[in-house]
Symmetry: C2
């Protein structure tokens, strides 16, 4: 009854080789059952990489189920990144189900030399949560393999629009003048500066002339350039949110900038604390604070504006608008930049829209810093690579990026919902924060003395990568976890949260 697998690869075919028996399916869960069976078939080689799935109409007829069941199962597999539609080429297997991440690139001999042998007490997996997080901590955590990676801040990378990217790049290469391949304007390609200005006007209500846009290698470079320029202006301190991003804090500290913490409450940053800190600048994530997800409220915005516009030198806001586009339940709040352009350095990037590996971002600064920031960019790297800039510009202008964002929002929303449901089911004492937007949730275990780094370490030992909330605080606070959901499939999310619940019992 079953055909040889070899006959299947590369050819549309029926389902008999899959040995499916619909009688095994649970009532009401046909689509889930089918996608699970297909996943198994991919994992054990019955559907090898590159092979085509049977046309949905054919499979539905053979299994005597409705065609909707099959298309739903295929949609799940597509979303999970196992198969991809290839137009008239049908639906093709493109990836095996992940059982473990590919082996990480080892750190070089020099770094490895500092560590004890891998797997021992000094292995990266052990070391990452042992001490206070140092500047290597994110690289170390990245290097540890895990079944499920809930590191926050990454969109669904399987959704990266490869075909559209390639089409745009072909168009760019077809039109580019030879001179555009030389040393160009360190402030960015005119085409992208124009596209970003109009993108920000459409999506964030920011009115800016293209000349105000500095193209950078991402928000981290914006912080590096600002650190240099602000210090030259006598600003050696940038207040940061508490809780707030460890990465941003480390980034500023690496450039010699002090980062006094200012607490958030439910309305956002406490402007009274900011005022009391004496800091002349503050780094904020007003649209969806990292990691807490708090949105800066209206009254607090007005207070912040008063602070920024105070007599004398005034206050400067660095607005990291890292995931403002990813709102699920209501329209995004306006950017601070749109309200007081003279007092706000606005930083954004395509890292959460497309992929961090592109290293394309933008910084809009008040006029008094613009020349110095361009000079800092020039002496840092002579400008960002031109081809990716022009491809991003094309994706922005053609509407591709907007379609991508709509698709991501739907997908991320399902993943967020899967995570919230799983938390409610498995971790009933966890409080969920910041679910209205973004790519991650923060959960806290209020009123407990849980050691959240121990929890994260125990989870990692079981193959689930998550960040402890205490990494992102400078002062004592409730223990918790920061859980990214955008880059992980609903199935993996449910498994990972169940694992977290199991290790939760073993950790005091």
């Amino acid at each position: 009854m079953t055909r040889a697998t070899g006959a299947v690869a590369g050819a549309a075919s029926g389902s008999d080789f899959l040995q499916l028996n619909v009688g095994d399916a649970p009532a009401g869960g046909l689509a889930d059952w089918l996608s699970q069976q297909l996943r198994l078939a991919i994992a054990d080689g019955r559907l090898p990489l590159g092979s085509r799935l049977p046309p949905s109409r054919v499979l539905a007829t053979e299994l005597q189920v409705s065609r909707g069941v099959v298309t739903e199962a295929y949609r799940c597999l597509t979303e999970d990144g196992h198969v991809a539609g290839r137009g008239r080429g049908g639906t093709v297997v493109v990836a095996m189900p992940v059982t473990a991440e590919p082996a990480p690139t080892g750190r070089p001999p020099a770094a490895a030399g500092r560590d004890a042998p891998a797997g021992g007490r000094g292995s990266a997996a052990d070391r990452v949560f042992r001490d206070e997080p140092d500047t290597q901590v994110f690289a170390t955590l990245r290097s540890v393999p895990a079944q499920v990676d809930l590191t926050p801040g990454v969109p669904d990378l399987a959704a990266f629009p490869r075909a559209a990217w390639l089409r745009a790049e072909r168009a760019v290469l077809g039109e580019l003048s030879a001179s555009a391949l030389g040393y160009g304007d360190e402030r960015g390609a005119p085409g992208l500066r124009q596209a970003v200005a109009s993108w920000l006007a459409r999506t964030r209500g920011i009115r800016a002339h293209p000349d105000e846009v500095l193209i950078v290698a991402g928000v981290s470079q914006s912080l590096a350039l600002l650190a240099r320029v602000l210090q030259a202006d006598g600003i050696a301190e940038v207040a940061v949110e508490e809780p707030g991003s460890l990465g941003a804090r480390q980034q500023l500290a690496a450039w010699g900038v002090r980062t006094p913490p200012v607490r958030l409450d439910e309305e956002g940053v406490r402007v009274d604390e900011l005022r009391a800190s004496g800091a002349r600048a503050v780094l904020l994530t007003p649209a969806h604070a990292f990691p807490s997800g708090v949105v800066l409220g209206g009254e607090r915005r007005r207070e912040l504006m008063d602070w920024a516009c105070q007599p004398g030198p005034g206050g400067l806001v660095i607005e990291d608008d890292y995931d403002a586009e990813h709102r699920y339940d209501r329209p995004p709040v306006p950017a601070l930049r749109s309200m007081m352009p003279e007092r706000v350095c606005y930083a954004g990037s395509v890292s959460k829209l497309l992929a961090p590996a592109l290293r394309v971002g933008w910084l809009l600064a008040p006029p008094r810093y613009r020349e110095e920031l361009a000079a800092a960019k020039r002496v840092s790297d002579h400008g960002t690579a031109v081809l990716p800039q022009l491809v991003v510009a094309r994706l922005m202008e053609s509407g591709t990026l907007e379609r991508q964002l709509r698709m991501l929002r739907r997908r991320h929303r399902r993943r967020r919902d899967a995570m919230i449901e799983a938390i409610a089911a498995h971790l009933p004492d966890a409080r969920v924060h910041g679910a209205a937007a973004g790519l991650h949730l923060m959960i806290t275990f209020d009123g407990t003395a849980l050691d959240d780094t121990a929890l994260a370490a125990a989870a990692l030992a079981r193959g689930v990568k998550a960040q402890p909330l205490s990494w992102h605080t400078q002062r004592p606070g409730p223990p918790g976890l920061v859980l990214g959901y955008a880059a992980t499939t609903p199935t993996a999310i449910r498994e990972a949260v169940a694992t977290l619940a199991e290790v939760r019992h073993d950790v005091v």
Copy 2:
């Protein structure tokens, strides 16, 4: 007799619409004459953009010339970037002859505000050579339009392998795992680090493990990262060649590093002067010193090695191997890195192999600096964009880059020869330096009191962009010019040198 142009566009056709009369051609110069006529036809619209040239066989028959004459004329036009072979699509017009560069992007209002009205005494064209060159000077010079741009340091950008790049990018996107699109290793994509290690072994005799390779955004970023790391190691002074690159000197100075000059003689850097300077580090271009073209001799290499290996902290060489691959008359000299890896930071990039706009380069440092350089890279920009890295890796491994380099060498050599001939014909009192390699020549007017910035300014006023030698010196020396030939066609080179000779007479 003549067909309408419209009938020609997009269709292979005979030559009658060109109204060519072979009787007009000078004896012995048929190919030159034909390419000139075709150039005119492109310029005046008889051969519009996108139209196909007649097949060489057809045109040869119609003109009653040998087919070699036509293919030679087509080759000239191809090299000049006016037409391109499209396989079975024939030879297609892709660019108009340049009469002036496209209008530059204006500096932003903030910058423009500092300037007097364009074209007046304060225009960019006027300002660029008026004062001591400041850190904006290269950007300002770039912003001035010119008929012929002899700015050094740029390869033939019309030769950029667009089709090969796109093919490689398609392959990369087809193979890339989704996780590779996330935040990756700040030291670079493993694929490129591997490819660079083997490229350097093949082309430069450098044996390096991929872990020793840090991927950066070009040599300018290597200098920025080194400036930070060396200062942390107590090295606040990096000696530089005299004459030596103004850009590199400005780059180091911007990061707080002092740059005492050490003279070159015909054997390269004067190691006795280096020793006397007390500097613990030196930035060198040993394969082809910029701008003088001097090659570091064997005896001098041994002296340098003694200096670097002296007891105590030793000396550190920063080797900028910017155009070592471009040698015309003999094999390249070995890299210093291959002789003393413990004492040499080796910096290279694809800027002179492919295009500066790609912003991909590499830095190989001694073990003691490797971790700190990776950390500096991380806090600067979180790593270089991944897609261009992987495309470059593929071009290196597939042999495309080697073929590109061979093609560039032939093309650049013809351009160099055209420039040397033109200088001999028009500027007999100029002495030519550094012709054996590279992308530029240095000429000096020995024994004269010529003001070379005035000469460069006068040339620019006549549409020829060149850099005065005095920009690249810290001490008095003979006046001269630095003339890039690689990015300019032989025809334009001849015209430009003739213009230089004309303005030479007006400048004291």
